[in-house]
Symmetry: D4
Subunit: 253 residues, 8 copies
């Protein structure tokens, strides 16, 4: 029930064409969410920076290309995560401007890239095997209109590599820290800065890493105050949250 | 926002005291849930059989008696689960008609007991240690207006005890089956009847029962079709669900 | 020991060919279940609405087609769950009227569909990836003679989508709610209605979803009273239980 | 090695009292952290809004009062979490202006409260049993200089309670959502707003809640993008992170 | 339906007072378990060596003494496991011949001890802390009429202690091996003998022993063929099984 | 060091060719296990009923055939478990009398089958999917010289199928009970008999069966006294233990 | 069977008093471990630096004092771990020179302290709550004759505290690193040094630390090569292993 | 900032071209790690025995050959772990002197093998399936310049096989003990020797071994003092730690 319908009803009341009992009844029978729906929709109209997202894992290349094609009819950016090269080929046949980022395993359709707002989102990764997840986070934040810096392969067992970049670390506004194995990097980074740190455990590791559980528990128990955590391998979620935080004052929801 | 408010607004529109733009704006600014709220409330008014419930664990006797006293101002039944005798004493000082059921660890205030509707809810328990949970389920169903039969201490290791009551089992309309240890009883019962079986794992057991995890997993993996499960030791939840099922045709929500 | 044997024994007693001590001894030595077996069988004859079910996972297409062909000799419906298209092809070669439902991954042989009894079973799913499990539940309930409504892709992160259908939700007699990831949907639905809600966790998700464990634990700990749970991805079990509940008064076991 | 030491060395070089080889050698042999230490310390001087924190659990009342007394010699705020009333009494004997907040189980020493900066941090809790953790989050954020609003007891099983406050929810700048049991509330809230949502699982629940594991997994698997998670019962960490996010532009580290 | 009822029915058939159709019908309508029940009971009468057992944990001293007193009216042995000294005092007030074994935490009432049958049951324990569980196993087997030998404190880290008794080990007919921590002892013993080895994990240990889980998993994964396992700390179960095995040829069930 | 060596040394002492100091020194320097080794070996010579066993999983067909060929040079039986048809083909090329049992996934080389000793080992399985594990147990026991009976597909959800065979069950000397899903069958069987029951959990099931964990925990927590458990899917271990028990009096170790 | 026995037997052989068959038989019947036993014992005589150890947890003060008194009759050091002050009082009444170390919760009887050998064992702890475990490690190593240095409260969230001591860290010969929560410290330390690092997880933490599991998994998955791990809270084990490593060349076993 | 930069600055100070305030400021603004970096690098130059290591799992053959080729430009040894034969072929095309060890699944480039230092590292494995992990440990230690002995297939269920080699075991300086299934071997070995024992759990086993968890827990809970543990299947880590320990006095870091 949109505004027009309500306005029409009220005009009928005003004009005496509908009596009050009928109008009350009509309003009452509305699914109670319809007004709220409008409410949500108007607010949704403001969310231009929010990408439409497709989680590709478990879908066929045809399914992915069909969904992306439909979403790409709208002007905003489209992200497809966990995408294979084969899926990207299928998408490009129908949406030629789609770009595939193999390391991040993402397909991006970005007709008019958003202007960069807020400060820098710094994405740090512990090992080279963590890069796919880190790139997923970085690319998500970029597409959502953030300046993004990358600092990869600076795990805690080689502290000098991390500390050599302490100025970069300290100048970031929001940090996403990606690590597998013991997941210690967010604690070390969280101790260096007083900025929000979003920790992303990865399933990198073997034996008792239990597919990322060790890193996840490590991050949840971080001794550095202010570290928050997302799901294992959830680079997209971390990039999304980093963008929300970085653009707090840019948006007017 | 209740009907009166809407009616008043429409009368003002009808009378020309409020123009349509103002009325649309007023309606739009309503928290969208208010209509729904009314909707829910009217439906809530019909739920006379639904008890107010207090989960006592972790509360002091004073807190319990205060909460029960407040809830008992309404006409419907009040249940307090996981209650100690000391809590019951505190409650009876302010609500003298409260009754304490030590085995079920429940306090019941039931000013005008509901008429018994539907068929029989049969509560079966495997061992004597499961009785507190079974009694919690049975009492909950009784207070909600169901005929309840009890069949206790009929675990699967002594099958003859269970099979001696096969007629009682087959005549029940809904069955709640409570078991700890390996939690096998619901599978056996579920294989005898073609009625809904609600399985309740209990934390009874030791060693690798892991506080009811063994029984819970056993029940979720039951080879008998149609067995559904509630949380460990959640006798209240099982009794509640059994009542919902048993009175499907009695209520008119 | 069938009726003939007993009748013959009694005739011998009657004719004085067997004395009472011998007859008592013969009866006592009978496997005590034989009579009960008859008992169960006669009751089984009444269960016309209960499908024969084949769990196809881990079987070859040939095995599946052989089993279905054998079961299809009986008049009642046959369900094969977790079936592939290849299995369906093999089945249709021997049972041409078999129908394959690819989304539900089920093969159905339904010579004379059962009349629809009871109220509506509403199957709700949170995400598109949950649909195979939801369809398995829906189809199971339909084949067992229930009116089934579907409401898919109404996860809790987009509450307006769910609330837009509140009337449909409130008019259902039994609800099956299917969700992966955090498994929150049954709690929200369970708070809207006062009807039995059967929650089905799915293995949809990644990282710390641990193949459906997160959703399973979420549903078991639901704060909504009356929610009951089946095993992960067990759409068949949920549909079966929903049918048992919905047809409580239709059957006369 | 502080500035004085370095200055003195350079003066000796300038004066020709130490030759360059000696000076290089001296500088090289410095523990490499000493300069960095100064670096960190000067930055630490800017962190006036950051409270000193004592985790009281497992300490005696005497230990707590001694530690708080020492920290309270500095001008900034002091927080003691998981404190008992007895600990608070011990503290107040030596730091009379210490205030005990029994619900949050915190002792606060706040000589000159910080000015409130940024937008509103909204702390939402699902059940009454979650309030201690929620209050810990709220009080932490308040002491760190944030405007804090509270919205308690709005669990997902009674959606209308939550939706009645949708304007308050939408006007918050950062949200902390505290829930036990199935931990579904952050998903629902995260679907309503496009602001950072920090989810706090609590150990509230029983049976298969496994001391908060169910809620933790639920929140990590939230289907709402942008939800981040802290450790079970870690209200302090959530309040701390919320303050970091809310004051991103107020601070100049 | 006991023998008398059947005999009476047969007499009526013999006398022509009941025709065969009626008799068949009567027999068929019997709860099918009644005959079986008799069957089981007569077989139960033969089980004179089987003790009545009370699991005392979670019961009050009064409850224990009441149960033991009732069971002790029968001639067979009575065992009460997990009993405290206080419980034993209560029992002895009503059953003066009850004996308390503090290390095994058992109360034994054994009016006419059973003759010792079969070979020797050897109970081996790894550490001194495992002795309560080992004694529970040993005493159970003794009361059930077995010769029992004990070999305690021979853990695998001091192999010479174990090997010094290799003759005793090789002469046993059934072995119960009790160990906590890593639970390695059954593997070593199982490699020395070709007799049945019943492994009992204990909850002895700390840290990652997880209350006996480490020992349990170790025993289940034993590289020695023929090792079987009972629940954590379940000395009674192991002694019971050892007796069943040791007396296979003595009993005639 | 075998008997010959010792005898030769003693003869040298007797003949005065070696003095006592030298002899003591020689004996002392022996690895202390050598005598024991002899001891073990002589006892090993008696173990003719013990098969040599190859665990094929993770080996190539060539590796399996090479190992079996070598073991088959000895007169005793050879078992290869978890073998594929391809492995069996490879084996038969070099050991033509090898027999492949596809359901048990075992290759058996049995030149002179052992005489059957002891009573009957009864192998019971709950479902058809449990048959491979059950057959592995049955075949192992048969090859080791036991009479074996099979009772398959008698799960607890269809109790009448189990009870129809109560005489067979009661006449067994040792029982192996194989079940997946909730693993309830050993409890039921253990309650019917007073013979040793060896429970074998299988990884059959889905969802929260967690690859047999549910069945394993169920069996460890069995409420039937005397049930012992082996590892998940370990049919061989169960058959081996059953043979040890069944032949306790046949062997003279 | 010691040397005397063997010598006597050989003399009898030499003297013709015992024939060779008898002698072989005698030797064969020896428990095969007796020679080995002597072997082990002579080696045990060399182990003067190894303390006798009592694990006090779960024992009474009287039991502890009795055991310590007996062990203290020997000249070597005695350690009692997890001891309370009350236990220490009881011990000192019978062994006056016993010293209680409350932080390490250890009682030490050290009549003639061992000379310090090897390099320095450095014990590092992350937080103040980890100190009891760290002290247990340090004291164990000291009593076993090692120079021990301590570096406490240098967790990874305050990296500058750790790096300020980099020279101390680099000069240690063996390092014991104790940490709870996320257990990240051993990875950082292991990256700084190329010496053996023994990691000790502690049960310090809350929520999803799961009593030290998070720290344990973190340490096992350390990205720093050469880190080895002991059980949760096992300071004694770490100190013992550190001493074994540090004194590799001092001892001559 | 390398030495040149510092030297230049000091020369400017000496020459009066830079005043002291400027020089202090310059030094302070240096990233604090730069000096430390130099520090670490000089120490790194001493680590000639430390191999460069490539973890091949999850990489393509091309990636592995590219990385190994680059690392092989340096004179020290290169190790590639978890390598397939196909990877080795690819490597040998660019680094012809690379050697593939199929059992250890390692590629080794060792231009000038290091001299053997220290005592013997003994690598023991329980079963033949543990050999790949054991070989990985052995080869790692060899390449790092250690004498290595191997003792394979001496699991605890055949104790005589282990004890036959007690002299070899006792003469080792450091022991690596590799075992799957119940992981009991390190406890037995640790009880025989007083040398450092590094335990390596393997994922060998099935059912409730849970991919090595059973062995891991067993080893962490070892009753033998001084046993330390590495991650599941981490042969490389064990060999690396063994080398660190064995060469403690050879290196001069």
């Amino acid at each position: 029930m949109d505004e027009k319908t309500i306005r029409h009803l009220l005009e009928q009341v005003q004009a005496g064409q509908v009596n009050i009992d009928q109008a009350v009844d009509t309003l009452r029978r509305l699914p109670f969410t319809d007004l709220g729906f409008a409410h949500l929709d108007s607010h949704r109209a403001l969310r231009t920076g929010f990408p439409e997202v497709v989680f590709c894992q478990g879908k066929t290349a045809d399914q992915v290309s069909a969904i992306v094609a439909r979403l790409a009819e709208h002007p905003g950016p489209v992200l497809a995560t966990r995408a294979t090269a084969e899926m990207a080929d299928a998408v490009r046949r129908v949406v030629p401007e789609a770009v595939y980022h193999p390391e991040a395993r993402m397909i991006v359709v970005e007709r008019s890239p958003l202007p960069k707002r807020g400060g820098t989102v710094l994405v740090i990764s512990a090992g080279t095997s963590d890069i796919p997840v880190a790139e997923e986070a970085a690319l998500t934040a970029e597409v959502m209109g953030n300046r993004v810096a990358r600092l990869f392969d600076v795990g805690v067992a080689g502290l000098h590599r991390l500390l050599a970049h302490v100025d970069l670390i300290m100048s970031a506004r929001v940090l996403v820290v990606v690590a597998g194995m013991e997941g210690a990097l967010p604690s070390v980074v969280g101790g260096l800065v007083r900025r929000p740190v979003i920790a992303v455990p990865t399933s990198v590791g073997y034996g008792a890493s239990f597919n990322g559980l060790a890193a996840l528990l490590g991050m949840l128990n971080s001794c550095a105050s202010g570290v928050v955590v997302v799901n294992i391998d959830n680079g997209f979620g971390a990039g999304f949250a980093a963008s929300l935080i970085n653009q707090l004052d840019e948006e007017s929801i």
